[in-house]
Symmetry: C2
Subunit: 194 residues, 2 copies
């Protein structure tokens, strides 16, 4: 099993992403992944320990990249509102530009949560980012003091995931990033008239 990410490694990696996204982890077969990558079945085992390990590496890697970008996006904002807006936009942007990842995150994360506790859960990190933003907003005075942060952050994450989930189910045809501003407007102002 190689350490550095050779061209062949990436080839298998990406093929696995496509096949997992299309069939789901359990119904995807090693042969399908190998054939899509244009290599023999046995070759996968030179690069990955086993089938689980492919999914594990896939999610680990994608998680680290996305989280890095989210961190940068938040850091680029000054006020809480700017930070929130940047975070949501980045989130939607990343998932829109990598549909396979979006599908896999949506459907296979629970499987990994059960068996691979060493994965840093992207939700956990995301919720921590949100906590910081909400608390900053409360200090700034732009966000209500009477809110239970633990609830608000889940509420926001759930809403974004719901929008992504719908976009995935609908065949990813419309522009996801365009929903960032209306979404943030909803969090901020609510649906009530006046």
């Amino acid at each position: 099993m190689q350490k550095n990410k050779s061209e062949k490694y990436l080839n298998i990696f990406n093929s696995a992403g496509a096949v997992f996204a299309k069939y789901g982890f359990y119904k995807a077969t090693i042969s399908q992944i190998a054939s899509r990558a244009g290599v023999a079945d046995g070759t996968l085992y030179l690069y990955f320990k086993n089938k689980d390990d492919i999914l594990y590496q896939y999610i680990s890697y994608k998680t680290s990249i996305v989280f890095e970008k989210m961190n940068d996006a938040v850091a680029a904002g000054k006020t809480a509102e700017e930070k929130l807006r940047n975070l949501i936009r980045c989130h939607l942007q990343e998932f829109q530009s990598d549909r396979h990842m979006a599908v896999i995150f949506q459907s296979e994360v629970r499987y990994l949560r059960d068996i691979q506790s060493q994965i840093k859960d992207i939700s956990k990190m995301y919720l921590d980012l949100l906590s910081d933003i909400i608390e900053q907003g409360q200090i700034e005075g732009s966000i209500r003091q009477d809110l239970f942060v633990g609830l608000v952050k889940r509420f926001i994450l759930g809403a974004v995931e719901g929008v992504i989930s719908t976009w995935v189910s609908a065949g990813s045809r419309y522009d996801l990033v365009a929903m960032a501003d209306p979404l943030v407007d909803l969090y901020l102002n609510g649906v009530k008239e006046g």
Copy 2:
């Protein structure tokens, strides 16, 4: 395969729910379900066509029950706000009182969406309920006119599912129904100060 729901059928049905919730559909085995139900492996095939059919019947049945209750809850409200509050409360109540169902809905629905198009998707029905409520609120004047209903309804569903998902991951230890009112307050008023 029997038609009427005998005691043994329900026994297998519920055992399957518990085993699917614990291990996930693919890792759950027929032997585990049979053994939990206290019957022989072959007996399952007198009541269900195959393993897929067990999950199919489980989700179909639970969906119909929950949706009926949700409909009643909404019908019991007069204003849009009352209806929304009743719907969210009912949703949280039903999932809280049936944790196996909550787990299965959270993790296995995508699998079914792929293979069993005849299931009426609970999300779809739910979103339609929400559409009606939002439109009623807009007519009443209690909900903003400038909202895109298609976005708002997903936003609300996503937020509720996010809260349930967190509750499931946290081992279902706290009171989920207690979150209904703070959640509705968030949808209505937003997080912004003033």
